[in-house]
């Protein structure tokens, strides 16, 4: 799915997959931090966003 999105022109760093156990709080924090950093770097997504006007 990530590959298809990337192929369509949605930046790869907007899609993340991870497996985190409920016991892995630190991993969860790290992953979320990494995701938000990467998405912030990309800026707001304008693709596949519906505009009514």
């Amino acid at each position: 799915m990530g590959n298809l999105f990337e192929h369509m022109g949605i930046e790869r760093d907007r899609i993340h997959f991870s497996w985190i156990s409920s016991a892995e709080a630190t991993k969860f924090v790290d992953v979320v931090k990494e995701i938000s950093d990467k998405v912030r770097a990309l800026g707001p997504n304008k693709k596949l966003v519906k505009d009514y006007n």
């Binding site: 799915m1 298809l4 369509m8 022109g9 949605i10 997959f17 693709k47 596949l48 519906k50």
Partner: protein
């Protein structure tokens, strides 16, 4: 390919005569040049209606579901791959079918041919590798090879993969170093260019759904585009909705698409909807070594788990 029609008719006649099948599903001549139409033959008098030529580009696997009794079907390489997919996905049983396999030298691209003329084509005939095409302004003799559909140009399964009888000798398969040059071209673009490519691709889409309805893979009783609760995608001509439809349609074909090209042939607006599915075919091949519809004993990759499945995308 012109000569195999006699064999097809002979086989069809025999099957109907001996009551081995209830009907034979094949192609009949259309009412306009460059058109053929799927037909079900049930009586011997209609056998002459069966034709087979380079315009039989739709996929007859699409006509096999929900039929009663035993049926015979005329099937090209790609049609047989979709028959295999149907069998694997429990849409039809192998023993309900009598497959008349037709090794295929490719189908022609009617839009590419139409583009050579400034007016409408009024006559089309085919003689071996030569296509004779006439409009009221001019006449052209074309080499079939130059006007093949894009999917036929990169086809590596011209011969039926499953059949009960062949209508002609097997043809030589081509091997390609790179079967996906079109995907590579898009992959080389940056995100914005890719996005623009697909925006331009679908700009004329009228959402008639000919692409999905011509596709043998699309057999859900209610398609996601028709669901209203929840409504997965808006129904209007909003660009986001139009593209969402195309992305999701493509993704539902992941690991199942045989690249038969019926979707492109059916599209009245000449949209190369294969640009969506081809990427998934390439990924299936590279990640799982998988080409759809080659073996009735194998489950498709997204339907099965193997410890070898690639998982480097999970962090």
């Amino acid at each position: 390919m012109n000569t195999c029609i006699n064999k097809i008719r002979e086989l069809a006649l025999e099957l109907l005569d001996k009551k081995e099948v209830e009907k034979v599903i094949g192609f009949a001549n259309g009412t306009i040049p460059l058109a053929t139409s799927p037909i079900a033959i049930t009586s011997k008098q209609d056998i002459e209606k069966l034709v087979f030529n380079s315009t039989c580009g739709l996929n007859l696997a699409n006509y096999l579901r929900d039929q009663k009794g035993k049926i015979a079907v005329i099937a090209k390489g790609c049609d047989t791959r979709n028959i295999v997919t149907h069998i694997v996905e429990n849409q039809i049983k192998r023993d309900q079918l009598f497959i008349i396999g037709v090794p295929c030298n490719g189908m022609i691209d009617q839009f590419k041919i139409a583009a050579l003329f400034n007016d409408e084509i009024i006559e089309f005939s085919e003689d071996g590798d030569t296509l004779n095409i006439k409009s009221s302004l001019k006449e052209e003799k074309l080499y079939k090879k130059d006007y093949l559909r894009e999917n036929c140009k990169v086809c590596m399964h011209k011969n039926p993969v499953i059949y009960d009888v062949l209508a002609m000798d097997l043809v030589e398969e081509q091997t390609l170093d790179n079967p996906y040059p079109d995907v590579d071209k898009i992959e080389a673009m940056d995100s914005d260019k890719k996005w623009q490519h697909f925006q331009d691709l679908t700009k004329n889409c009228i959402r008639c759904y000919a692409c999905k309805n011509a596709c043998p893979l699309c057999y859900c009783p209610t398609c996601f585009v028709d669901e209203s609760s929840p409504q997965w995608v808006g129904k209007g001509q909003n660009k986001t909705d139009v593209n969402t439809f195309h992305y999701l349609r493509a993704f539902h074909c992941a690991g199942r698409c045989t690249d038969c090209g019926a979707c492109v042939q059916a599209c009245p607006m000449d949209i190369n909807v294969r640009d969506f599915t081809r990427k998934l075919n390439k990924d299936s091949f590279e990640m799982f070594g998988w080409e759809a519809g080659l073996d009735i004993t194998k489950r498709p990759p997204l339907d099965a788990y193997s410890p070898d499945d690639p998982d480097d995308f999970i962090k």
